[in-house]
């Protein structure tokens, strides 16, 4: 019982610490946005450098969806709905969730280890002594960069995914091209896309926050930075799936 209480209180304390950290970042966001070049650089770091992995995975997820979706739908004789089904699955679930998991693995770890190493090599302390707030110069631009990059990557993942479905469904398995696209256009509306976009933004905030927090609070040793990187991936993955359920439950 005692363990349970102390475990619970440490979880609550952690959540409090992350929330305070977020407020401190948000306080520096206007200042960071003024130096747009730094933010653009971080969008490039978190976004453009994750592009290849996101596009490759998007294509293959779409192709698998094409195969599985076709197999399922033909049992009911409704292969023509493949476009609709796959687009909805990609836009509302697979797109944001898988992109976020990839983002946590590619961009999140790189953010956490970069900031952790800056801590371990006294670069953050050096900035503070030079009267430069590391939150404004290091943490906030990276956070904003991640938050901007994540929804963009999500949209790219969804688009490539639909291309993958089409590649298998239409080109290989012979679903009629006209029906595929017109059914999709008829039944997927803006709300569905918005749901994916909202998830992309929320997951972007969650992943970027965890990454910069873990990096910033990492123990300044090789082992500490390693642990921070691991925690970034694990905590992001768990939080993405929990948030996914919560957002879906609210929006459906």
């Amino acid at each position: 019982m005692r363990d349970f209480v102390s475990g619970l209180s440490s979880i609550v304390a952690n959540i409090g610490a992350v929330a305070l950290f977020l407020f401190r970042i948000l306080g520096q966001v206007p200042q960071a946005l003024l130096r747009f070049r730094l933010v653009v650089h971080q969008v490039h770091n978190a976004g453009a450098l994750s592009l290849v992995i996101v596009m490759t995975c998007g294509l293959f997820v779409g192709m698998v969806l094409g195969l599985q979706g076709y197999d399922l739908l033909q049992r009911f004789g409704s292969e023509s709905s493949l476009g609709t089904g796959a687009a909805l699955a990609l836009a509302k679930e697979l797109g944001p969730v898988i992109t976020a998991l990839l983002f946590a693995g590619r961009a999140g770890t790189s953010l956490a280890s970069e900031i952790g190493l800056m801590r371990a090599t006294d670069q953050l302390v050096a900035m503070e002594i030079m009267a430069v707030d590391p939150f404004r110069r290091v943490v906030a631009p990276r956070f904003i960069g991640g938050v901007i990059a994540m929804p963009l990557l999500t949209m790219i993942f969804i688009a490539i995914g639909i291309f993958g479905v089409q590649l298998i469904g239409v080109q290989q398995l012979g679903v009629d091209q006209g029906t595929f696209w017109s059914q999709m256009r008829g039944s997927v509306d803006v709300d569905d896309i918005m749901q994916g976009l909202i998830k992309g933004v929320v997951f972007g905030i969650a992943c970027s926050l965890i990454a910069v927090y873990e990096g910033y609070t990492a123990e300044p040793t090789a082992e500490g930075v390693g642990r921070a990187t691991t925690r970034t991936v694990v905590n992001s993955a768990v939080l993405i799936l929990i948030l996914d359920y919560m957002i879906t439950a609210v929006m459906l």
Binding site: M118, D122, V125, E128, I129, A131, R137
Partner: protein, 264 residues
């Protein structure tokens, strides 16, 4: 304006149940080079962290230019820090920038100087440390001694009033050490600033320091000119200044009886 830029008054500081300082009192006079020496683990670096406001004393006062550091607001602390320069043990250069950009960093962050002037200032400081030719290199391409010289250029680029050196000689080859020593004196005298050097390289410090303090057991055990310290007869000062393995500062970390541990 007081004669002392930094004053430490009866400071107590403990962390994790361990007392680091027990009534530390010392002063850093303006325009002089003050050395802080002492065996490892006596809190020399902790002292620098107190002066720069990274940590706060448990009790006592740390005054920089008459202002109590622990009482300053964040804004005032940052304003004070703009008047300081600090050279870190490992240089602490920002690894994603060139040497030039590292030195230009404080200027870009705190001033709106035109690019031409920044260029001029940075190259002048790099020339002082002999690394104008290395301006385009990245930090990972520098040797340890070079990195420290770049860090020195960065620390003095805004002509600070107080330059703090944390172990500036540790791990340097004799040539680099000589270069840093000469720079220390030259920078202090040419810019008319106050320097504070934390080090345990007794012989090197003796060449440049105007006044030295030896810390042990959480307080100052001896102070004065390097010559006076050399002549000091107390056991601890003699042990430290002459590098004797055993004395008041034990060579061995506290442990159980050697023989009984081996035979158990």
């Amino acid at each position: 304006m007081t004669d002392n830029l930094v004053e430490i008054r009866d400071v107590y500081y403990s962390v994790g149940g361990r007392d680091i300082f027990k009534g530390l009192t010392l002063t850093v006079p303006r325009g002089k080079i003050t050395a802080i020496m002492g065996p490892s683990g006596t809190g020399k670096t902790t002292l620098l962290r107190l002066i720069t406001g990274q940590i706060q004393p448990t009790s006592g006062q740390v005054l920089v230019d008459g202002k109590e550091v622990s009482k300053l607001s964040r804004r005032d602390l940052y304003a004070l820090r703009q008047r300081l320069g600090m050279l870190f043990q490992n240089g602490a250069l920002l690894t994603d920038m060139t040497v030039f950009e590292n030195v230009a960093f404080p200027l870009r962050e705190h001033t709106d100087l035109p690019e031409e002037l920044i260029n001029h200032l940075v190259l002048t400081k790099l020339q002082t440390v002999g690394l104008r030719g290395a301006a385009k290199l990245m930090p990972h391409e520098l040797s340890g001694g070079m990195a420290r010289r770049v860090a020195l250029a960065r620390a003095m680029v805004r002509d600070p009033e107080l330059l703090i050196y944390d172990e500036p000689f540790a791990g340097l080859d004799p040539i680099s050490m000589g270069v840093v020593l000469r720079l220390l004196r030259k920078v202090n005298d040419a810019l008319g600033i106050t320097s504070m050097v934390v080090s345990h390289d007794v012989d090197e410090i003796a060449q440049v320091a105007d006044i030295s303090y030896i810390l042990a057991g959480g307080k100052v055990v001896a102070s004065g000119s390097p010559q006076a310290l050399k002549a000091d007869q107390s056991e601890l000062v003699k042990q430290f200044m002459n590098g004797l393995p055993d004395g008041p500062v034990p060579f061995h970390y506290p442990a159980a009886d050697y023989h009984s541990q081996l035979l158990s």
